[in-house]
Symmetry: D2
Subunit: 343 residues, 4 copies
């Protein structure tokens, strides 16, 4: 922590702040220039937390400089983590693709989707069984029945499956069915859910919250890893900004930030990130070039009748085209040595 004093703060004020710092078991150094007087504080993070000097005389403000996460940081674990989902590796330079409809709507729909997804070359089938929806009057998902359909689709096609879990009490049930447990953007700071997922032996895909900073996102991942589950995959899915042309603002710089700050793999979801099917292709390519370890995208057998998020779903034809591009580009990135593993 750095304490910035008012320029007119006198010796007594500085003295009193120093005493408060030391009373909390922390050490401080004063730096005093003509226009600036700052006090650097170091020591135990927990103690720092309890230090409140902003209401003391002469203090202008405090700046917190310590991180809220350790285990997921690259400083702590320099080697990039590769997660093995039953033979499919995430984080080793190949780009995995997770595709499928927004929601599981019926057995027919998910089976038809799975065939399309499989034929196009993705490794994962995605589909929501428990759907958090803004309006209480929107379709809320088939729940466990949806999970069963997904499992049937896996059996038929060999695709791995990923689906969202929204409640602590459903974690075990969802974990029985899926290969990867997904945490949605709205639940990124649902801390008890994160802790419960930290006790499972299944990989977790953690979507970035709608207005979460990189720091908060990594802190959320820390909750999971801190409980013992280090198989966390991060997923950038767009953040909320003033721009309304796109549904969200896809923050691809997050890929670079994560590759620098953390050892965890990162996947990008251009469907939610843009909200427009037309933009999925260019943003998928951009994500691959930035070094993303995977792409998650929405595909619907017939998007014109999708029960949710239809406007951002690819038709089967578009899906096949985007898949070809991703494969070609990701192959090129690796072969040419341009692939960015860490920064």
């Amino acid at each position: 922590m750095v304490i910035i004093m008012r320029s007119d703060a006198d010796e007594n004020s500085i003295q009193r702040v120093m005493e408060a710092v030391e009373a909390n078991g922390l050490s401080a150094k004063v730096m005093q220039g003509a226009a600036q007087k700052i006090i650097g504080v170091i020591g135990d993070k927990e103690k720092m937390c309890c230090l409140d000097v902003e209401s003391l005389k002469g203090v202008e403000k405090t700046v917190n400089i310590s991180k809220n996460y350790t285990l997921v940081s690259r400083e702590f674990h320099p080697e990039s983590t590769v997660i093995d989902v039953d033979g499919i590796k995430i984080g080793n330079g190949n780009v995995v693709v997770m595709a499928g409809p927004c929601a599981v709507e019926s057995k027919e729909q998910i089976m038809a989707s799975a065939e399309i997804i499989k034929a196009g070359g993705a490794q994962f089938l995605r589909g929501g069984a428990y759907k958090p929806r803004t309006s209480p009057y929107s379709f809320q998902g088939l729940e466990e029945l949806g999970l069963k359909y997904l499992a049937d689709a896996r059996e038929r096609t060999g695709l791995k499956i990923i689906s969202e879990v929204t409640e602590v009490e459903n974690v075990k049930k969802v974990a029985e069915y899926v290969d990867v447990l997904q945490v949605g953007a709205r639940n990124m700071q649902h801390f008890r859910l994160l802790k419960e997922l930290g006790r499972q032996n299944k990989p977790v895909l953690l979507k970035r919250g709608m207005s979460a900073t990189i720091e908060e996102w990594l802190s959320a991942a820390e909750y999971i890893v801190n409980e013992g589950n280090n198989k966390v995959i991060l997923c950038e899915r767009g953040i909320r900004s003033y721009e309304s042309y796109t549904r969200n603002t896809l923050d691809l710089s997050a890929v670079a930030a994560i590759k620098h700050l953390s050892h965890l793999p990162i996947v990008v979801d251009p469907s939610h990130g843009t909200g427009k099917w037309r933009m999925v292709k260019p943003m998928a390519y951009a994500a691959v070039a930035a070094g993303a370890d995977g792409i998650m995208m929405e595909v619907h057998p017939d998007p014109a009748v999708a029960l949710s998020d239809g406007q951002q779903s690819l038709t089967p034809e578009h899906y096949v085209e985007v898949m070809k591009g991703i494969k070609a580009l990701s192959g090129f990135m690796q072969d040419s040595g341009l692939y960015i593993r860490e920064l």
Copy 2:
């Protein structure tokens, strides 16, 4: 819904869109000018949801114009709702104050706080027993023990108590202790929690999500009311913007927006809204003048040792000063006829 066609869309494209609309059981009207061709669609909201025409030829974009909420809207229920918490009325023109520490830390601390709060004139004691924290290493709350201390404080002082509930499975337990159940900003879209709260016979204070729109906030309230509990109090607590001088950007225009769009009472939290104790007073006054039905603020017997959020907590002296101002101002607003009940 309004469908905006490309200016070069031909008759065939328009025809195909019209067919899609009608195939979904909806009605449409075409308006065709020189530079604009738009198609208005009306009908059942549920059906609208399934209409996906953006991938059809000639369609530029669609604009959704229907609301996701009904029961909480002023159009549905023109009369402002007054909520009675065991004799304390919220929404009748008086300004209630909910004050106390961020977290319940110990029996001594909460008792000392309660005496201060009571003496200053607030009606509610607030304090977190279950604390959602960004970092897994921060203090997470005393849980049920904290609730017990709050109840003890109520017994001693007669203050009503309000505390946050973060999990579906804790709803009943927290409801046994508190007078008002609080939903935190991070849980505003924790839909199963909202539904569970909708089945309680206790008022719920619903904080606005960190980046929630007014529309999403009212839709979250709709989840609660739709289950049968219409005692919902909204709480503006600042939204996330680019400005970092304040912890959040307190959106006081939300008070006016709610008074226009909804019949529910609204409370303002300037402590979280600004993150700076110094700004609590001016923002509390501003909220009262805007027509807020209540103020929630953090007060700590000794903020210099608070375990969380100390920088935004008032000292007892400041609290007393702010309380006097709130009472005087709110009395003036009512007496002078300037109080804004609805817009």
Copy 3:
């Protein structure tokens, strides 16, 4: 400046950073804990600017803690500034009101407006003669003719006039006509314009940029004061956020921030700040309660035919109602001692 080192940075890295700091004529102190190594740097701001150590080995990031402004800060000039516009004082506790149409459209319109504004009790007539508009096809203002009409209206009513200047080359011309020169949000960082205004002997109202931080806004004011003109009035007019219900997000906490950080008076514009005529009243009241020194608002003789910004203009009847409320509330704030002069 504070330099935050990677936790694995070794002695050599720290040494090299220290050398770079000292080579720039600055002083540094190292603080080294178990998990944190930080280097505090103080000295001449200009030299700090040239210090670039982020690409040195072991450096995680740098945090700039010095301010870009001095002359406009309250530390430099503790006494609140009162600006005298030909007898009308701004910043002395009274609330001045600047009202009028968005744009000067015709002599009839501005004369009719002036009569209404005068009768309602505002001190200033506002109206745009040079209009910066998003679209090249929108009405761009009557230019000098508009200024003449404003001057005519002043002669008839005795109101002071305020109008926007958008170009360096027009500064002198606009200054001949108006009592206060306005800088629009889009020009807040038009630095040559600011410098030119700094050389005039007329008060300047500086609107906050659409996405300007408090720091950038005060730095823009510093440009004007640094050239010799210390008659700067700040104007909060809403910032850009994700919320689209309102045209902008009116940041009333800026009033409190300015009262703390600066000695300059601050005015609030709830018309642009919300974009909805209905919200002008509650937000004007809130601004007054927060301590604003003035209110700027749009009024149109007949808003249903306004050439620009009609949706946010008050009708004459609403204007009169809001004026009464502002006067009563501002009188109460002063008489009761609740008025916040500085923080």
Copy 4:
């Protein structure tokens, strides 16, 4: 425009709105369902502008659906525009690179930079001669002398030069020296400057404003094209969001949006877009994969002594590495047919 009526609006209210619409020379159609009543309005955009019905009884809100730009839209001009800068083509599928220091600091510095830039393979040398700076105390540029140094560097190396123009009165002078005139983010809505640039016979690079929407950006371009200069290059340089890890949030989806909405070429600036030299490489690659027509980036002979923006400048070594990657990737995109010319 679409007018959304309150659900309780009666026939009379609807009738009055229809009359107002028609009185403005526009046509309207009413669509009336159980829960929704909407009125579609079409006709002349200019007349629409003057229509203000929000204060009429029964009107909930109005939604504007027409665009502010025409000439720069792809609907108007379906073919992608290729701009020829003295033999260098922008927009034809090749990726041009504009590189150089943030500011021209001295003849030695710019000559050294030019040699590096040339050797690395970029086609343009960039460097600021007129620098708009947040603080009045920061280095403000060498002005005309800087332009002379740039011209000298062009003579020596054959690189084209691009530099920012900040004032109407300097347009001609800057145009004499440079090959491309740059408009900075702060000036994106400096409309008189845009008009003046519209009368030049030199290409203009128009940076996106810090918080400009795509719509506002294209409207700004329309100002230039509307005056007769259709050689406009758009440049995405990051937008302001709540995330503070990066200096701005680079919005790469803007590349896709522009390729869909407009025929103008688009360049991406990852240096300003991220503010971190480390992130320039991944974001440059991502931009190329998304279909960008060019990359603008900061390079400094010795970033550790740069007078401005040093933290985001590449060293010569990094520059050479990024250039190689851009060339390889852009070649692959074209050869493989993955290059996205339009959407």
